[in-house]
């Protein structure tokens, strides 16, 4: 694996970094969508987060990263009973990917050369318990998107083809990035992402200069650069781990839940997924910041991330959806 730009060295882009950290703390949040201009460091941030995440324990040789030997699906046996530490899987879903490659399929090489019917696990298997990253998600073909939505919802990948019937767990955090100029995302897919962030180039000249300076010194000597930021990265990793542990004891008062509901009602978001995500995200943020319970301030800060992609388009309102959320937050929460 090539050298990865350290997460802590990313200049600015606080919303994007926050969204990614929250998804790392609570994988059930449902993934992050990063939409923005070219050259704003979308892919860099995703890869940096991957390198930052703590390793997972998995059964040796298991293609779906099962935690214990009894979770290993039947078709993948025999595997040993030993477990090993693996880096959190972060699987790239390339754009031209075929359906077979995503879900896994009959191993055509074995079928053709040895006449054996063997299941070859796909990208969904590899991303179980980890991340599935789609760059340029808005350009992904529709039938692949449908397939991903289906699996993301059920957490199980079911392959029924060419006389093969295979199922295996596929629980992953979906991270998508894209450039709205290339085309929009279907609302169904938009809604599947827990958090969404709009990124743009920083306006401040000094910030821009700093971005390029760091990039330059990273490319000149990656090893030294990574070593310099290692301590900061470890601090973040520890905070993520602490927050994961603290998540269960972080409570939300009835009043905060009411605020969530009021906020969503005033914005007219569809369904209840908005409220649930908002609450989950605020809880993750509270845990990350070491608070025992969710405060209004947490709610306020995650509201644009959790809600801005769930709004209906209003033809008479030309302002961006995140500013509409901010406005609604001010109106409802005071």
């Amino acid at each position: 694996m090539s050298k990865v730009f350290p997460f802590s060295a990313i200049v600015g882009q606080d919303d994007m970094k926050r969204a990614m950290l929250l998804s790392a703390i609570d994988p059930k949040l449902g993934g992050v969508l990063v939409f923005g201009d070219r050259g704003t460091g979308k892919s860099t941030a995703v890869r940096a987060l991957a390198a930052l995440l703590p390793p997972i324990t998995a059964v040796k040789g298991c293609p779906v990263n099962s935690e214990s030997p009894r979770d290993v699906p039947e078709w993948a046996k025999p595997v040993g009973r030993d477990t090993e530490e693996r880096p959190t899987p972060v699987v790239d879903l390339p754009l031209g990917v075929t359906e077979d490659r995503v879900t896994g399929a009959l191993d055509i090489e074995r079928a053709l050369t040895h006449g054996e019917k063997v299941f070859q696990p796909g990208l969904l298997a590899a991303s179980n318990r980890g991340y599935l990253y789609i760059d340029e998600v808005n350009l992904l073909e529709d039938h692949i998107v449908d397939l991903l939505l289906d699996v993301a919802q059920s957490g199980i990948n079911l392959v029924e083809r060419e006389g093969l019937s295979i199922r295996h767990p596929a629980r992953f955090v979906l991270v998508g990035s894209g450039n709205p100029e290339e085309g929009e995302l279907r609302p169904q897919l938009l809604d599947r992402f827990g958090l969404s962030v709009e990124v743009r180039s920083p306006n401040d000249i000094e910030e821009r200069v700093e971005v390029i300076r760091r990039r330059e010194s990273f490319e000149n000597s990656p090893t030294r650069f990574i070593r310099r930021w290692k301590a900061a990265d470890i601090v973040i990793r520890d905070r993520i781990l602490n927050a994961r542990r603290a998540l269960a004891r972080t409570t939300a008062k009835r009043r905060v839940i009411r605020d969530c509901a009021e906020l969503c009602a005033s914005l007219g978001t569809d369904g209840l997924r908005g409220e649930l995500t908002l609450l989950r995200a605020s809880r993750a943020l509270a845990a990350y910041e070491g608070a025992d319970e969710v405060a209004i301030d947490h709610l306020r800060r995650v509201a644009p991330l959790a809600l801005s992609h769930r709004l209906r388009r209003d033809p008479l309102d030309e302002s961006s959806s995140s500013s509409r959320v901010v406005r609604a937050v001010e109106e409802t929460l005071g």
Partner: protein
């Protein structure tokens, strides 16, 4: 003029030398030129320093990105893979006809570039200003060169500088913070948002310093970086710094760098002047259109692709596996089965390349015609009957091309979806005939309903086209109040919004006399305007289908 031409040829040659010095950092050249002797000279120069491999947007995925070579695997009896031209070897990729490269392929290539550190030269032969190589690739290649105005006479072979020596010192070239800051400031002033641009400009400046065998980046190097990397990406014409209101572009940039950038004011101005001749010539045209030309184009690409669904499966047919074709395993085995006796009966099934059958799909027409019909009292008085006739003509044309249709009627204070998107033309006709008239004209409401339906349909992979039939006398606002001024204002707002979405649209004026208001509305919508009184059925059909075709090609 000739001096300008000489200079742009010199710049083109300089770009090549810079690429030869720092191929990894600069990534490549986006070359805009028609094929011809000048381009040949340029490419000769390129291949003098760097080994090149030509690729083409129509090449199969296996050829580009590698994959299993099924035919070779079958005949060899063991697994054979093709490595793909994008992966593996070290040569520079020449992408011919880059302007024909779709957004998906471009994104995939861009990912490949990022991963593999490949170099690439885009040969962009676009004729129209809007026809360019994909931006995802342009963005990643540092040097943008245009050879359009250079004649064969000017394109002389320059002498080769000492590339090897320059390469050796490249790693040791230093740049001051000040040099970096100046490039960043200039990028902001030229309206270049991406941070890759100033970063690549710095690389170009360093390569230039190495090329002239210096040790640090000087003013002339910065000017080269700015000229070859930043200027071609400019989206705004830089304003003089003493302008109290520097546009809406990065107002904070000035405050942020105020202390540092003020003493450098004059050299920055020199820099701006230096890049001015290299600003793209069509910049002003782009600005006149409100600067949205690029955005609209991008949306068009996405829409076109989304309208291709998988379609109905057809019988499979013989063919070589490759590209996007999928092997129909069952049919392939069926084909192979009868020959097994001849091929030697040893327990295994023998499949030869000639047995392979590929799956095929029939793609359907994915257009959706949304008719938004004004059924208000005023329209009913005028020509609701004629409007119905016009829609019927369109329906019969839609039937011929298997389009979907939807019908929205607006009157009183509401808009009703009389017919959700369907292919049942008969139903459309029935609902239309039964359409009653009367009440006010809630044009904004009707337009919004139609727009919502269109966006929804687009999300489902259809290509919506809006056909608005009205007499334009809007007198009911969005909130249902009968306020003529407010109604007008709301209509304009909704129309702007729809225009921003880039929906193809036709406005049919059903009034007795053509309404100026409606012509204005059509202009806002960027729609074709057609007064019904003058249009006979033939022109009507022709105009609308012309619009539809444009909508699809956009």
């Amino acid at each position: 003029m000739s001096r300008d031409v000489a200079r742009s040829w010199a710049n083109a040659c300089l770009a090549l030398n810079l690429l030869a010095v720092d191929p990894v950092g600069l990534r490549g050249v986006a070359l805009r030129a028609r094929s011809g002797p000048v381009r040949d000279v340029f490419l000769d120069l390129l291949s003098r320093e760097i080994q090149t491999v030509r690729i083409h947007p129509a090449m199969s995925r296996e050829a580009l990105f590698g994959g299993l070579d099924i035919a070779a695997t079958l005949s060899a009896g063991r697994i054979m893979r093709t490595s793909g031209l994008m992966a593996g070897n070290d040569a520079c990729l020449l992408l011919a006809m880059a302007e024909r490269c779709g957004a998906e392929l471009a994104a995939e290539m861009a990912q490949c570039l990022e991963r593999g550190g490949r170099r690439m030269v885009l040969l962009d032969e676009g004729a129209e200003p809007g026809e360019t190589a994909p931006r995802a690739l342009m963005e990643r290649l540092a040097l943008h060169v245009c050879l359009d105005e250079i004649g064969r006479q000017q394109a002389q072979m320059p002498e080769t500088p000492r590339i090897d020596e320059a390469r050796l010192r490249l790693a040791d070239i230093t740049a001051t913070d000040d040099a970096l800051r100046r490039l960043v400031v200039l990028a902001a002033r030229l309206g270049v948002d991406s941070l890759r641009a100033p970063y690549l400009a710095l690389k170009a400046a360093k390569a230039n310093a190495a090329l002239r065998l210096g040790w640090r980046v000087e003013d002339e190097d910065i000017a080269v970086g700015a000229g070859l990397v930043l200027a071609p990406r400019a989206t705004v014409i830089p304003e003089p710094p003493d302008d109290p209101n520097p546009g809406d572009h990065h107002p904070e940039s000035r405050e942020g760098g105020a202390e540092d950038s003020r003493p450098q004011g004059p050299p920055d101005e020199i820099l701006v002047e230096a890049v001015r001749p290299q600003l793209p010539g069509n910049l002003i045209d782009g600005l006149r259109d409100g600067g949205h030309a690029r955005v609209a184009k991008g949306a068009g690409v996405g829409r076109k692709h989304r309208s291709n669904r998988r379609g109905r499966p057809l019988p499979s047919r013989p063919g070589r596996p490759g590209g996007d074709a999928r092997v129909d395993l069952a049919a392939t085995l069926r084909t192979a089965a009868p020959w097994q006796g001849l091929r030697g009966r040893d327990g295994s099934v023998k499949v030869l390349p000639s047995d392979i059958r590929l799956k095929r799909y029939e793609e359907k027409s994915d257009r959706l015609l949304i008719f938004a019909v004004d059924a208000s009292g005023s329209a009913a008085m005028a020509r609701l009957g004629d409007a119905k006739g016009a829609v019927e003509i369109l329906l019969s044309r839609a039937y011929a091309s298997r389009d979907h249709v939807a019908l929205i009627a607006f009157r009183g204070n509401r808009a009703d979806l009389l017919l959700p998107p369907t292919r049942s033309l008969l139903q459309a006709k029935r609902r239309l005939t039964a359409l009653p008239g009367g009440g006010g004209t809630p044009l904004a409401t009707g337009l919004r309903a139609a727009g919502d339906l269109a966006l929804q349909a687009r999300g489902q992979g259809l290509t919506p086209i809006l056909v608005l039939l009205t007499d334009g006398r809007a007198n009911v606002a969005l909130d249902g109040s009968g306020n003529r001024a407010k109604a007008r204002e709301h209509t304009t707002a909704v129309a702007r919004c729809l225009a921003g979405e880039g929906l193809p649209c036709v406005v049919l004026d059903t009034g007795n006399r053509p309404q100026a208001v409606l012509a204005d509305l059509a202009r806002i919508l960027a729609a074709q305007y057609l007064p019904l009184p003058r249009a006979d059925s033939a022109t009507l059909g022709k105009t609308i289908f012309q619009t539809i075709r444009d909508g699809l090609d956009a």
